[in-house]
Amino acid sequence: MERVLSVESLVTRFGAQVVHDGVSFGVERGEVLALIGGSGSGKSVLLREIIGLVRPTAGRIELLGTDVWQSEPYAMDELRGHFGVLFQDGALFSSLTVAENVAVPFVEHTDLPRDLIAPLVGFKLALVGLPPDAGAKFPAQLSGGMRKRAALARALALEPDLLFLDEPTSGLDPVGAREFYRLLRALADSLGLTVFFLTHDLDMLVAIADRVIALAAGRVIADGSVAAVRKSEDPWLQEYFASRA
């Protein structure tokens, strides 16, 4: 097993407010890992720190062998080609069509000729289950589920080793959500992806997560398989898993 992400005694403070108070965990290649926690438990901040958007107060984050906060900018640029991020509402560029959105990573980070990019973009859209005519549409013309799929296609464009997702099923109806996380699991299995996602969605957690990390009061309160975490004594986790039978 190869460790692709390790977080060591991470501390984050915003003024007097302590968000993380010594968070540590590691992620092995090929794992599908869920990060859960109540609203305000610092999940999103942790994700932003891992992908290099918010600087932690102290601690170490190593992603694919690169220290995210100690490396030279060029090392981070190199690293960015190896992970994809799906933001909560997709974060597609609203002034570009879906096909152009997916083409952005190809155009910016590869030297592929245009006549190769076009079919690759079409394939990526098909890979995430979008109909062929979706490519010509603007993000505002798509439903929430289709926007997420298009954003997933963009996140997968450069064949990342790691995929980060922020609330991948929020705003989707239960049927759409189920389709979406099944697609994720299928892609993770076929592509050998490591998937790290934040969620409140218990169904998704049970259906696809290999491992769950629960965050509360700035610390990791549980780390293990869904079954193991479910047995935890922690009152918040008990309440969380009791919310659906």
Binding site: E78, S94, L96, A99, E100, L116, A118, F123, P131, S190
Partner: protein
């Protein structure tokens, strides 16, 4: 992290075994090498006459992009699924190829956000302008109806919001309006003075300043400044609220977005702009007076006497009276454009730009119309 070295520059070794074509995939089949792989595939000149066997035993890595390029090429040369088989692949890559094959059957789409020809663009623009004019007329009607309903129920008028808007559009704008009009007064007095000196008629600079500033320049300049300052702000504020669904929230709470958002801004601007024009008048005349004193040796007392003699009340009133009309134009366009913002980042920017341009153009068109009309009426 990634072994990008082209361990084998050939990517594919082709051998004929039994009666089938065996393609040994070699090396690192990753996105970075897709262009080279694609070139190599074309170079091989495959034909769909025989069965193909894909052998993955010499493969180092494979990703979906490379897999897609391979399978697409085979499909392009006419291979059906029955004609291609795979062997020797790592279980992971086997699954990956199956996934690629399953998904690639949908034809690729590659559309660009249009580059239209000149004629369609001209046509589309004309229709867009006509639509926009119609929308403004509609909006004037809507605002009038809401105003009438306010007259019947004056208790619903939002005085507090109106006052806070007044502060933003009037009080906060005083320095910039005063500065711009003052400088214009200085410039005009200077240019006029140089000409007037030749005829020994320097005193008439005061007439020119008083008339020009009060009747035309201050109303126009103040309105243009307000269009750029407050018009853009109205569109951006209301547009952002639209994007965040706040407008819908106002409606569902049983309030009228027009009464809550538009009418306070409209009223505030109608009160504010005449006052700003007055500030502009004073600042412009002060600018002229300063240049008259320093450059043209006109004593301030004499300059002001001339201003009193030349500036009949009607000129001053015409200048001030145009201001509320301009205010209505700016407020209606700015609020209307704000409510038209759609849910994307580009639309907000486009509408804000469009507001400023439309407001300035309309202010100038209306001012020209006023100038002609007043001339005909001999006032």
């Amino acid at each position: 992290m990634q072994e990008n070295l082209p361990t084998s520059a050939s990517w594919i070794e082709r051998k004929v075994e039994d009666d089938s074509d065996v393609l040994y995939l070699t090396g690192v089949w990753r996105l970075a090498n897709v262009a080279a792989i694609s070139g190599r595939l074309r170079e091989l000149g495959l034909h769909a006459r025989t069965r193909f066997v894909l052998d993955g035993s010499k493969l180092e890595t494979l990703d979906t992009a490379a897999g897609f390029i391979l399978l697409r090429h085979l499909a392009d040369v006419g291979c059906t699924q029955a004609m291609v088989s795979a062997r020797g692949f790592d279980a992971r890559y086997q699954r990956l190829l199956e996934l690629v094959h399953e998904r690639m059957t949908t034809p690729p789409s590659a559309a660009h956000s249009g580059h239209q020809g000149l004629l369609p663009r001209v046509g589309a623009t004309v229709f867009a302008v006509v639509r926009m004019l119609k929308m403004h007329v509609d909006f004037v009607g809507v605002v009038m109806l809401e105003l009438l309903s306010l007259v019947r129920r004056p208790g619903r008028f939002r005085a507090k919001e109106t006052v806070s808007q007044f502060e933003a559009v009037c009080i906060d704008a005083v320095p910039i309006v005063a500065l711009v009009n003052f400088l214009i007064g200085v410039v005009i007095a200077y240019v006029l003075g140089v000409q007037a000196q030749r005829y020994g008629a320097t005193l008439f600079v005061a007439d020119g300043i008083a008339l020009g500033i009060c009747r035309e320049l201050s109303p126009i300049l103040s309105s243009v400044l307000v269009a750029g300052r407050s018009g853009a702000a109205f569109t951006a504020q209301i547009g952002t609220m639209k994007v965040e669904d706040e407008i819908d929230a106002i409606s569902t709470l049983g309030l009228s977005p027009i009464q809550v958002l538009v009418i306070p801004r409209l009223v505030a601007l109608m009160v504010a702009l005449p006052l700003l024009v007055f500030v502009g008048d004073a600042a412009g005349i002060a600018g002229g007076l300063l240049v008259g004193n320093w450059q043209l040796d006109i004593a301030p007392q004499v300059f002001m006497d001339r201003v009193h003699a030349a500036l009949e009340l009607r000129h001053f009133v015409i200048g001030i009276a145009k201001a509320p009309v301009f205010a209505v134009v700016v407020a209606i366009i700015a609020c209307g454009m704000g409510l038209q913002v759609s849910r994307d980042a580009r639309s907000l920017g486009q509408n804000t730009t469009s507001t400023v341009v439309q407001c300035i153009v309309w202010v100038i068109i209306l001012d020209a119309a006023f100038a002609v009309a007043f001339q005909r009426m001999r006032i």
